[in-house]
Subunit: 315 residues, 2 copies
Amino acid sequence: MTRVQDVYPDDRASLREVGMRDGLQLVKTFPSTAAKQRWTREEYAAGVRHFEVGSFLPASTFPQFADVREIIRTVASLPGAHGIALALNERGVNEALASGVAEIASVVSATEEHSQANARRSRDQAIANVRRLCELRDASEHRPIVNAAISMALGCSIAGPVDPNEVIRLVEKCLEAGVDFVAVADTVGYAGPKQVGELTKAIVKLSGAKPVCVHLHDTRGMGIANASAALDAGARILDGSLGGLGGCPFAPGATGNVVFEDLAFLCESKGFKTGIDIERLVAVRAILRSEMPDEALYGGLARAGLPAGKAGVAA
Amino acid sequence: MTRVQDVYPDDRASLREVGMRDGLQLVKTFPSTAAKQRWTREEYAAGVRHFEVGSFLPASTFPQFADVREIIRTVASLPGAHGIALALNERGVNEALASGVAEIASVVSATEEHSQANARRSRDQAIANVRRLCELRDASEHRPIVNAAISMALGCSIAGPVDPNEVIRLVEKCLEAGVDFVAVADTVGYAGPKQVGELTKAIVKLSGAKPVCVHLHDTRGMGIANASAALDAGARILDGSLGGLGGCPFAPGATGNVVFEDLAFLCESKGFKTGIDIERLVAVRAILRSEMPDEALYGGLARAGLPAGKAGVAA
């Protein structure tokens, strides 16, 4: 049994590479299994410890995740590395549990409209799914960490603005259901830092001793500013993808997750240790460029490098 | 005589389009005078009121600023619009005063190393130049606003980290010399939001009733996060360029100023009125694309548009 505080200590920022899951959600070409394994190992060598490696979705529809079990094993083979996989229904949860993955992620949409359109279920059904996931975890041998992400928590591509009280209500239900922590997701890059800070603060308070994850997209260029606000509000787990890999299904042409290497620079510049060597991390982009030459990569650190006299920032 | 508080009221964020000056500092091709005039007029129609239009540098070396007087006249012809031009020595100051421009900007490097390398003068000589600028302003008929920007204030491309106490000492000298306000410039995009917030807070305190400008570059993707921190710390004047036009002479391949339209979105999302219609502003990028097809343009709003149900953000 893994204690969540061991995996996500509260005296540092835990940055999760979600490029292999969220970053590959929409791409037309995707890396080979061997390339994903290199991506994982090279980021591990750069100090990354948290990897969302895929999703237990039908491989016929999502062939990019067909090798999720192999990448879970790759992560598990690296001392101190932590693998996360997404499971959206009971079949997926059972497969995730059988895979031995260290953490299972689930999702609840913040709005009824998006829940129905995206997952063809109500938010109550999604919460029931989270509850069932926690029961199955409790009955399992290795008892993985379980998180629930509230998607569209800061604005919805269908419903528009989202009432923070609705998000807080859903967070309470997920915590009652027994998740180890919740994630707040700005799925379509809707919000600015004030809104992110205020919602994060409320959820940090609700979560008590449990950590809080904030999952941001850089759709409108606010990603790093929002991450800064999330850290100020007490979030200690942040998601990103190398080079900002990945688009957004609800905003064509929009960038994906926050750029992972810029996120590491932000954290270190604010005094949060990440354990990541930024220059080594930037070098891993070569794998993405050669495997997915048509995908746009973003990021300031990759363009400009670390500032003069700041090599130590990555220590 | 213009009162600085009329031009930069403290109950809103004043966003200055510096693309025609800083954005054109390094480009190989540049817009025609007519295109600069369209750029100015269309941004004015989108609600922009502050334009840094060029520099009084020798036209032989900087042909992109040869038409600075014409653009100053264009801005002056638009009710409520405010033109700014850079002048780095007494010849430039006299030309700027003769042009009738509403504001004259001057620069002091934060480090002795950069001051010598960039302007071939000491910081003391730069301060003496600011003092002379204020004397000439006082003796002039139309008495333009005068600002002094402390360049490299958050990190130097030559000297590396910069002691904030040195910046504070230079700010004090500029305020004593009689400038209407100072600008803090992260010329090479060196800093993160913690550092920007702390320095801005100190300078806001020193400046008393005078406004504070923060001039940021997005070199390492921190531009918007830094702008957010600057607003939190009390800065009410922020510089940016449409599409993030412009590079950085000290970081090849790096982006230029903060993206103006994303900056407007940030301010509005934090509750600071800008008076800018973001969609109309984004449309002005077409002028840059057609005049400078080889220059990279950046920005989230241009990629993704305003979020669903947020058209009112620009009101």
